[in-house]
């Protein structure tokens, strides 16, 4: 199994990106979440937003990959099931010397499954955030 949570980028500009994550029963971990009632785990929806954020910022980063360092108010709504596609939207809110603040959401046919804010930081900087 690959840890790829974005299948296609549909649209983008400097501040926004829209991508799609298609949920398939072929994803092995779904057999455990939950047996007999597969739903995309909430943290995988967050990971989809994180990977969309990385894709948005790919032209701005160096070799250092971006990691998730902060999450704020990520709320879950509808459940997402195999056979459904999650449309992931991310928007750049602001950037500073240490990283990028983004806002994201995921929906299935206009029903919101996830929304919230998060921060991406280059890996080297993420490894020593004892002052945070």
């Amino acid at each position: 199994m690959r840890f790829e949570l974005i299948d296609r980028v549909i649209d983008r500009d400097d501040q926004h990106l829209i991508a799609v994550k298609c949920v398939s029963s072929a994803e092995e971990y779904l057999a455990d979440h939950f047996p007999g009632f597969a739903v995309l785990p909430g943290v995988m929806m967050l990971e989809a937003m994180v990977q969309a954020g990385r894709a948005l910022l790919s032209d701005r980063m160096g070799d250092d990959p971006l990691v998730l360092t902060d999450v704020r108010n990520v709320r879950y709504g509808n459940m997402v099931r195999p056979g459904q596609c999650l449309t992931v939207r991310v928007k750049l809110r602001k950037q500073d010397a240490d990283g990028w603040d983004l806002e994201g959401s995921g929906s299935v046919e206009d029903q919101v499954a996830v929304q919230g804010r998060f921060r991406l930081t280059p890996l080297c900087a993420a490894m020593d955030r004892t002052d945070v």
Partner: protein, 169 residues
Amino acid sequence: MRWIWIDRILELEHARRCVAIKNVSLAEEMVHDHFPAAGNRPATPVMPNTLIIEGMAQTAGILVGHANDFREKVILAKISRATFHDVARPGFCLRFEALIDRIDSNGASTSGSVTLLDPADDKQSKLADIELLFSHIDKNMSGLAFPEHNFVFGQQFKDVLRQSGFDSP
């Protein structure tokens, strides 16, 4: 990839506190995609922080479920806040400590910390602080279709509890 992000439960205090650990290993598939070699950078395997949040959600979720004898379907409804101070590489161990802040018939709020343990020298450091909100979905999600039986606490969780020396439902 299996969906179990804790290896062993060390402590479980009814309706108060749960402590669990997870080893991070190169044998796990996801670290090879996170991150592979690119440009001038060699492969840098690191445990994704979203899966560390899931480890805390499983630790806290078991604590919240246990508080009501696993009668409620306990679902992660909100990540109120997560702050990471470091990353976890293979060959290190994670220690999750979850505390219940409030619990009632609708759900529960939990707070907790993740500690990074180095087996080479037993050094410990703070990895993350994570606050979560769980919903008892039988009370809160009428209109959404889900099974009547408690699909949340299945065999995998029961096995972890039992193998850790705790009674399982």
